[in-house]
């Protein structure tokens, strides 16, 4: 792989971390706001940016940011982790996954421990790399643990399609892909919903476009603003949401046009439609949301690791003291949790939000725990 003219691209990123632009947007937000508003950023990547750049320090007190369920590792249900652990323990299996999944606790253990005890578990950066592992290990079963939102799903779909083309009989996928719009709808339809507006995840919309969000915004009369990940992007997203709220408008706006087009990436959507079909999914800490995830479509089911290894019926149990559900739905902040920073730390996580690089608890712990007044550390 080669990345041309990286220097220029880096300058492009610097512009979105520019202090003057940030201050300018912060001033505009302060001028615009007249009452209290609660805005949820859906994506865990945005949560981390907000904490990393300390953006809450420059927002007026009227604006409360709450952190959404957009952390794929966090919402992957415990039974899926247990299945991955079971696969990792099979001597004939090479289990591959993105790095974050390795530390998430299942019912009794996690993948890192399975690896330490001899399981062949490998971290990969791309699902396509897994095909080479499968081709190079014909005597082994190679499974990819596919978690994530619409952003990572196209690469997984491509790998599966390619595996079929290359007749890789020893390749399969443990699918736990979930979708953003049904999750937003689940949050909005909840009785104790207190979210006034949403920052939608820019990367997801780069793939899927913005059209899926229009019916949700209209049904629940909320502003949904597609937002990027750099400080200037996030403040712009907040400003646009605030303008809509103050002007009592609702609908979908795009504050990340340098990456997102209304129709999204058609080629990616096409391959998603070919390899996957929508299905109900269980979200860790939240429960089952109808038509909120992907499973393999006809013609690709033979790559389903759950079927191949007969993993349909596994008993799982959740840790009692983790309030991940309340965190992931924005009902509570990590600092509201009795276990935060004491019995739950990144080294000994009780739940996934403390593990993942996109988890809200990990973001608070890493960037801001000293500022939390009720810290019991």
């Amino acid at each position: 792989m080669r990345f041309a003219r990286w220097g220029k691209q880096m300058k492009h990123i610097d512009e979105y971390r520019n202090r003057d632009l940030v201050n300018n947007l912060s001033r505009k937000i302060r001028k615009e706001v007249t009452r209290k508003w609660t805005i949820m950023e859906i994506c865990g990547g945005q949560t981390h940016s907000i904490m990393k750049y300390g953006l809450m320090q420059i927002l007026p007190s009227e604006i409360t940011l709450i952190h959404g369920p957009g952390c794929p590792v966090c919402v992957t249900p415990v039974e899926m982790i247990d299945r991955a652990i079971a696969l990792g323990e099979y001597p004939e299996v090479i289990l591959t996954s993105f790095g974050d999944m390795l530390r998430v606790p299942g019912s009794h253990t996690d993948l890192l421990r399975v690896k330490a005890l001899g399981g062949d578990i490998r971290m990969v950066y791309s699902p396509l790399d897994v095909l080479d592992i499968a081709a190079g290990n014909p005597g082994k079963q190679v499974v990819f643990f596919a978690v994530g939102f619409e952003t990572t799903a196209p690469a997984v779909a491509m790998a599966i399609k390619e595996a079929r083309k290359r007749n890789l009989e020893n390749f399969s996928v443990l699918i736990s892909h979930v979708l953003v719009p049904p999750a937003i709808e689940a949050l909005l339809s909840s009785e104790d919903n207190r979210i006034d507006g949403f920052l939608a995840a820019g990367h997801v919309c780069t793939v899927m476009g913005t059209y899926e969000y229009i019916p949700v915004a209209e049904k629940y009369k909320v502003p949904i603003v597609v937002t990027g990940f750099e400080p200037v992007d996030i403040l712009l997203g907040i400003y646009r949401t605030l303008q809509m709220l103050e002007q009592q408008r609702y609908g979908v706006e795009n504050a990340y046009p340098r990456s997102v087009r209304a129709e999204g990436n058609r080629a990616a959507q096409k391959i998603l439609g070919e390899v996957f079909e929508p299905t109900d999914r269980n979200w860790r800490g939240i429960g089952t949301i109808p038509i909120s995830g992907f499973r393999l479509a006809d013609g690709y089911r033979k790559f389903d690791a759950v079927l191949r290894f007969n993993l349909q019926h596994m008993e799982s149990e959740e840790s009692g003291s983790c309030i991940a559900g309340a965190i992931l739905t924005g009902q509570k902040k990590p600092s509201d949790c009795m276990s935060f920073g004491s019995s739950c730390t990144p080294e000994k996580p009780l739940g996934a939000p403390m593990v993942s690089s996109e988890g809200a608890c990990a973001a608070y712990y890493r960037y801001n725990r000293a500022a939390i007044p009720n810290q019991r550390n």
Partner: protein, 351 residues
């Protein structure tokens, strides 16, 4: 970067009837002897190593000694800017420097995997010889063990070093005081990212080379001219963030870093954006953090900048009493956040 070019041992591999390491190379018999005489004596020989005893007899050293050990398991063993050989010397030399010592003697132990190419071992040995010459240290004793194929990963190296602590120096984390400044001698994250990019087969237009190099030359001059240094630390595994967090915790003082002056080269920044890493947590192998009273900063910076190893030296932070035990970052946009110790392993087998 560490390639000073002053010394060069570009000899062909000493003749041997074998191409690969065999179990017998570690067996203590003829093959072990051949390896020692043809390769190690040729590549590394000096009056102490050539004594040929079980250990080395060294002259008495006046004053306090510094003593350190480090093992090297880096994968891949050859990477842009260096290899496991010079890394093993520079790492131990720099640990001694951080004790305020003049590095003198180093022991060298290999764990080799059966089947490892002798030609590659020779490359590593030459690199060790060059690094030792550059740093002015002597390899005085060593050991070689061989493990069965599949029980190791080509080559592991342990080095242990002895240095003479320079009189008048008192380097200790506890001496970190409010008002001190934090200096670094150049860009951060180069070593870890160079390894990462090599391992993943990624190529950037701005190439990233490991910064492995010995820092004793530059630091001896600092010690001589301005001994009032409070703390020294080489930010290796865990990067700048972990090194400074350790200092905050053991001294009970706080440190604030200024993001807008942190030196990070474009290749490292690009790779970090791409892979989701933070340069603050990436390993360095030729960097030193110098914490000292602000009034000496100008003088020390001038000395450091007069050496190749420190051309880009600058003040990157300040010691404060306002957040004891905690490392803060003042971000480019003017907000602050804490920088925590790294949790888990960001990049395994980096050194």
């Amino acid at each position: 970067m560490a390639r000073t070019g002053t010394y060069s041992l570009q000899c062909p591999i000493p003749k041997s009837e074998h191409e690969h390491i065999l179990m017998a190379h570690g067996g203590g018999g003829k093959l072990t002897n051949q390896l020692i005489e043809k390769m190690f004596y040729t590549g590394l020989g000096n009056e102490f190593l050539m004594q040929g005893h079980d250990g080395a007899f060294l002259p008495a050293i006046k004053g306090q000694l510094a003593f350190t050990t480090d093992s090297f398991v880096v994968n891949p063993i050859f990477f842009p800017g260096g290899d496991i050989g010079d890394l093993a010397i520079n790492g131990t030399v720099n640990d001694l420097v951080c004790c305020g010592a003049k590095p003198l003697y180093i022991s060298l132990a290999f764990i080799l995997e059966e089947g490892f190419l002798l030609e590659e071992l020779w490359k590593v040995v030459q690199s060790i010889g060059n690094a030792a010459l550059t740093a002015g240290v002597k390899i005085v004793t060593g050991d070689t063990k061989v493990v069965e194929k599949g029980k190791g990963d080509r080559i592991f190296i342990n080095t242990t070093g002895i240095g003479q602590v320079l009189p008048g120096l008192n380097i200790a984390p506890i001496r970190c005081k409010e008002g001190d400044v934090v200096i670094i001698n150049g860009t951060i994250g180069d070593h870890g990212i160079s390894i990462m990019l090599t391992r993943e087969g990624l190529a950037l237009d701005s190439p990233v080379e490991s910064d492995t190099m010995p820092l004793n030359g530059m630091m001896q001059e600092v010690f001589k001219r301005q001994p009032d240094i409070h703390v020294l630390r080489d930010p290796t595994r865990g990067g700048l963030a972990s090194a400074l967090n350790e200092i905050c915790q053991s001294s009970g003082t706080g440190i604030t870093l200024f993001e807008n002056v942190l030196p990070v080269n474009n290749g490292v920044r690009g790779a970090c954006e791409l892979m989701g890493f933070d340069p603050l947590y990436i390993a360095n192998e030729g960097k030193i953090l110098v914490i000292l009273p602000e009034e000496h900063a100008g003088e020390v910076l001038a000395i450091m900048r007069s050496h190749d190893e420190g051309r880009e030296s600058r003040i990157i932070g300040r010691v404060t009493a306002t957040h004891p035990g905690i490392l803060h970052l003042e971000t480019t946009i003017g907000t602050t956040r804490i920088i925590d110790m790294i949790s888990g392993e960001q990049l395994p087998r980096i050194c």
